[in-house]
């Protein structure tokens, strides 16, 4: 056994104490490792799950949608303008919301495009229409868009199962469900009519699958110009779709845009509020699990070190007798706590990573594709290592203080 002189005194003693009580050390390291592995695996699982949900939500939706402000009715005056004995009408009827375009949408789009957080802005005309073929008819939401911009937000090209997405002035894109309901194939003509009496005949250029039955039966896409003439919105846009560099900044930026432009700005978070409540609940549950696992790891380390201080009382006394300072004794036990935490975290990181690989291989969809991608985030591993080491240090504080305060006379006599 060669002396390890390259180590400071405290580190050498801490390592030797841990090595001498190797069974005890092994058990607590395995205990910490399991805790860390649970934290890493759970976090990766939830992050992957949430990322998967977010991805699914955002493949069919812009991060922010800007609409013209709703029509409002304001009372002619307020009670302060009226005589003291006069009463204002209690009920104000909400007016009918007619389809209307965004005022000066081109300049708004330019302003938005200059914001550093904004990636793409795409104008569109939205409206409802009835699609008829023979005796069958279906009501649909029509999106009239500029393909070169819109496809950068909604990757419709990737969703096409038949035909092309490069829609023109006399063509239309419909979903798989709608095509099946109406019994149409590529190139078949469809009669598209609106409530204002406009009727167009458009050929089916492509059939898409958005991954959702409802979406595949209710949506149809055409060029913006076609939709403008169809809904009587010549040169206008009823909506501006916006994508951002940071999807989680959507609500903040939506509010910012709303206050600057006066338009109604809805972030994807707002339009999917229930989903976000579920995400928040998951995150809270994950944090609670992390906290309690961390707590149990901390108490585990502390209990082992308390026992170690009792077991090593005599050795502490001897060290004190030979001139070792209280602070050095304290460092020895703090280091043991830190090393236990770090060792357990390293082992836990390996177990966690292994569990993630096994999960990815075992948990598959019916078609054999992966259920969702779990991300091996380096930051998560580094955080776990740092946190476990800090937990070890903190947990060792009480035992270390106890060791440092031991009366050497009593300790040697033990």
């Amino acid at each position: 056994m060669k002396p390890q002189n390259w180590l400071p005194f405290e580190a050498l003693v801490a390592l030797r104490f841990l090595r001498e009580g190797r069974i005890q050390t092994l058990f607590i390291v395995v205990g910490i490792a399991i805790g860390v592995a649970v934290i890493i695996f759970m976090s990766a699982l939830l992050t992957g799950l949430q990322a998967n949900f977010v991805n699914r939500v955002l493949t069919g939706q812009a991060h922010i949608q800007l609409l013209a402000a709703k029509n409002r009715v304001s009372p002619l005056g307020t009670t302060t303008d009226w005589p003291h004995d006069a009463l204002e009408a209690a009920t104000v009827q909400i007016p009918l919301q007619r389809a209307q375009g965004i005022d000066q949408w081109q300049s708004v789009m330019e302003q938005l495009q200059q914001m550093p957080e904004v990636k793409v802005v795409s104008p569109a005309v939205l409206g409802s229409a009835l699609i008829t073929r023979g005796e069958a008819s279906r009501s649909v939401s029509v999106v009239g868009m500029l393909p070169q911009r819109y496809f950068r937000i909604i990757p419709l090209r990737d969703k096409m199962v038949q035909g092309s997405a490069e829609v023109g002035s006399d063509t239309i894109l419909i979903g798989t469900e709608l095509a099946a309901d109406l019994g149409v194939a590529l190139g078949d003509p469809l009669r598209v009519s609106t409530v204002n009496g406009t009727v167009l005949t458009l050929k089916v250029l492509g059939i898409f699958d958005l991954g959702n039955k409802g979406a595949n039966s209710r949506n149809a896409f055409m060029t913006m110009r076609t939709a403008q003439s169809m809904f009587g919105l010549s040169g206008g846009a009823s909506i501006l779709d916006v994508t951002l560099t940071d999807i989680y900044a959507a609500e903040r930026i939506a509010q910012q845009i709303q206050s600057h432009t006066g338009l109604q700005a809805d972030s994807w978070m707002k339009t999917n509020e229930q989903f976000f409540t579920a995400v928040r609940a998951q995150t809270t549950a994950n944090t609670a699990i992390r906290f309690f696992v961390g707590l149990s790891v901390g108490f585990g380390i502390a209990s082992v070190l308390v026992v170690s201080v009792v077991q090593r009382s005599r050795e502490i006394g001897i060290l004190r007798a030979m001139g070792v300072r209280r602070v050095q004794i304290m460092r020895v036990f703090l280091l043991q706590g830190g090393l236990l935490g770090l060792g357990g975290a390293l082992m836990g990181a390996l177990i966690g990573a292994l569990a993630m690989v096994v999960w990815q291989r075992v948990m598959r969809n019916a078609d054999g594709s992966i259920m969702f991608a779990m991300v091996m985030d380096t930051a998560l591993f580094v955080q776990s290592l740092v946190l476990a080491s800090l937990t070890g240090l903190l947990s060792a504080l009480a035992p270390a203080l106890r060791a440092a305060r031991l009366d050497p006379v009593v300790a040697i006599r033990t």
């Binding site: 007798a321 001139g323 209280r326 050095q328 006379v409």
Partner: protein
């Protein structure tokens, strides 16, 4: 009982004046175990401390070793008044000027013989690695433990462990060695060997040795003997 000593030509390495120690101070059961001890020890003194169990020998040794504080009186180590020093200063003084050897040798079982001897030097941080190893190996050689330099401490026999403990006590070249019944747990042959070792250290390095023993044969071989009875030095406190 002999009361010889070296001629006091130098400053005493240890001096006690009116040293008292009480336990449970202020409580109903307050007990004074040392009642005004006066003692001087010079470099090269080899002094046995004898007395019945419970007479206060260990308490005296703990106070002299700066592991415990006196209730009153004065204690000088190498000319330094210690009663007003804080814990850090006492620890530093103890580490540099005093070596301990206990009855049950008390080696650190997680370390080898060499590492046990290096330990005080290592903790002091004032030495280079090669220097520490060289000095520790030399000390182990001087106590006849060269073949077991890298043997784990807990695999050595009782006599061997006590030899390592003596080498460890000498690591910092202290002026005073306190040995609390160092031969009490050894067979006669090993006890003789360890005693001879102390004599050798005392003679060759002029280190003062305060040697607590219950063995009258060993105390009779010391140049100076003090007898502690009921918390007082009955005989031999001053040369």
């Amino acid at each position: 009982m002999t009361a010889q000593s070296n001629t006091p030509v130098a400053q005493p390495i240890l001096e006690l004046q009116g040293l008292r120690k009480s336990f449970n101070v202020g409580a109903d059961n307050e007990t004074e175990v040392l009642h005004g001890i006066d003692l001087k020890l010079y470099p090269g003194d080899f002094c046995a401390v004898i007395g019945p169990s419970g007479s206060g020998k260990s308490t005296l040794l703990n106070i002299v070793g700066l592991l415990d504080r006196p209730s009153s009186g004065s204690l000088w180590i190498d000319g330094m008044q210690t009663t007003a020093l804080n814990d850090a200063k006492l620890t530093q003084l103890r580490g540099h000027r005093i070596g301990f050897v206990f009855q049950y040798h008390h080696l650190l079982s997680a370390f080898s013989a060499l590492e046990n001897v290096m330990m005080p030097l290592y903790a002091d941080r004032g030495f280079r690695d090669a220097q520490m190893r060289e000095r520790a190996a030399g000390l182990l050689d001087s106590v006849g433990m060269s073949p077991w330099l890298h043997a784990p401490a807990n695999r050595l026999s009782g006599g061997q462990q006590q030899r390592v403990a003596v080498a460890r006590a000498l690591a910092m070249r202290p002026g005073l060695i306190l040995a609390d019944e160092p031969t009490g747990n050894l067979d006669t042959h090993s006890a003789d060997g360890v005693f001879a070792l102390f004599r050798k250290v005392c003679k060759e390095q002029s280190t003062a040795v305060l040697f607590v023993t219950h063995n009258p044969l060993l105390s009779a071989r010391c140049e100076r003997t003090i007898e502690v009875v009921d918390g007082k030095i009955k005989d031999g406190g001053f040369p």
